[in-house]
Symmetry: C2
Subunit: 379 residues, 2 copies
Amino acid sequence: MIKDNAAFDMKEDRFKVTYLIDGEEAEARARAWDICVEQTVEFPEELVPEGIIRDHVLGRIEVFGQQEPQCWRVVISYHVDTTAFELTQLLNVVFGNISIKPKIRVERLELCPSLLAAFKGPRFGRQGIRQRLGIPSRPILATALKPMGLSSQALADLAYQFALGGIDIIKDDHGISDQRFSPFEERAALCAEAVSKANRQTGLNCIYVPNITAPYDKLFERAKQARSLGAGGLLISPGLVGLDAIRTIADSDEIDLPIMSHPAFQGSFVTGSYGMSHYALFGQLARLAGADATIYPNYGGRFSFSKEECKQIAAGTSDEMGHIKPIFPSPGGGMTGDKVPDMLETYGKDVIFLVGGGLFKQGPDLVENSKYFRNMIDI
Amino acid sequence: MIKDNAAFDMKEDRFKVTYLIDGEEAEARARAWDICVEQTVEFPEELVPEGIIRDHVLGRIEVFGQQEPQCWRVVISYHVDTTAFELTQLLNVVFGNISIKPKIRVERLELCPSLLAAFKGPRFGRQGIRQRLGIPSRPILATALKPMGLSSQALADLAYQFALGGIDIIKDDHGISDQRFSPFEERAALCAEAVSKANRQTGLNCIYVPNITAPYDKLFERAKQARSLGAGGLLISPGLVGLDAIRTIADSDEIDLPIMSHPAFQGSFVTGSYGMSHYALFGQLARLAGADATIYPNYGGRFSFSKEECKQIAAGTSDEMGHIKPIFPSPGGGMTGDKVPDMLETYGKDVIFLVGGGLFKQGPDLVENSKYFRNMIDI
């Protein structure tokens, strides 16, 4: 019924997505084929036009194998042209409509060279951050300014003490945006200056990383403000502003600052049986978008990630991905001194440890507490 | 240990969120208190400073009641200042970090007047769309241009036939963005013109609604292009670009077009036992952000929503919400002629029915097929 006389020249050029699909084999096979249709043409199969649409635009099942009883590992390929070479549309092809269907989980992406070439990825990556901080090989130590409700000056005073104690990266808590307790511009100015003052005393290169997660029409402006006020990096929660906001900031020569990605509002993708894998969401996608470090809740803390899931995230930050640089895993949440040895064994040296409440609980002197954690990771 | 000498004047001014929490009572109570801490100060409880932070910034359990065995209905209030009166930070307070914790589901928001006043909501709403389309009371009929892979001209030809047949709203399929088959500007121009030509013949007011879901730095530009090319509305998938992108476009006098929200990439929030309710996500939040219609998969189609869940979404589009206008529920997916009577009974007249594949399957003549569906809803 539908014919298109336009002659598009299409060559084989496909990327792959691995899905886990639950159910009996026949049901899973039907679901796999449904993914091929739903994520591309979204059209009654019998009416899909012959030619390029049927031959190239439709998704294609490349592998269908059993993962475990009632669970199937399915590799589906899509033509790169379906993505328009946009991160937003790539996400849409990978998991847009099928996010609404049960029993499907995105395990991993295998992007082909033509698609990878459309993305610059992180501007700094592991090596770039190490250079900026002057830390050739040891683990990096980060903390967060909080609690919400403190004034900008009180937060800056905390930042000063943490920086004096040798913390490498001091970020805003992800919940501190532009509340009247500590308005963005005032806070960023005071905290950046406090860290700079501490650096002059210590000779270290601590950076202040304000949270620029903000309304759509203010995010880029905050990035520019942060830069002009002396911030050394930026914190963004892509669950709240979209992953492509990270890409835009990372790609901007005008901003030119490392980006830390925060998992707020992304949890539902990984907490159920369906959704996306930790590896794909917090590893591959954060990295592809251009984050230089990906924050996630560490195992054994007050969140629910297992050690294996955390190791998978770390793997996603450095597995082969063409020219896209490896980035830092940044496990946080519930970190205390006694957990550090195990964390070092799990993550090795290429990691940014994020210590929060533990830094306050350790003892009454925040400078000393900072030194305590700093010494623990000085391997 | 932490003191803040800044004297903020804080009055009681709180909004409420209802959560469902699974588990034994003691566990659920602990989890409720954890939400109060995690979503605000994210700080060791014993160290939370006295004064405004403990008295106002901390979340507060207002109601704790049993919903059913092993499930508790908990109302938690937060001070409006925690949100910075930003949609992004509001989402963060409601479900940011706890999205990563299991057994918690956001059921509904009760926003207080001071917080509602920060949002304009939909520019058009039900009444505004009815005025634009010249349809005082009957259900509205929409369809989507597809499949992906057709040329812009072929899509425009489809649009022309649908408009001739009396379809009221013709949108791009949500997967058609800026692929080389049908680049955005070319497609929007041809489709808008095709619909305009049909309107001149029919005397009707059909509108073309292009998909402007796009990379962060291109979305606003596409909205402006769409407007200048004669689009009558805009389609946005907030799961891909962030809910606040809708707010920005809705608030813009320069754009001044109705917005349809599409659920792509949002499914994981509602497909598991945890996450958010259909009511909150597709009803309340889409509306608060400023969508004039919220698209979601109808019950009985190829997706998994139940009839009750769909009715809940419809309720969320019109339940009392201060000055925020009621919007249209727009159920779609798998709509066929035989389902229309039941859908009319379920949704009444204030609905935008989205018919997709069914419109192509009905018979060989798309103008006739359009008339068939159009007549069915002419009540």
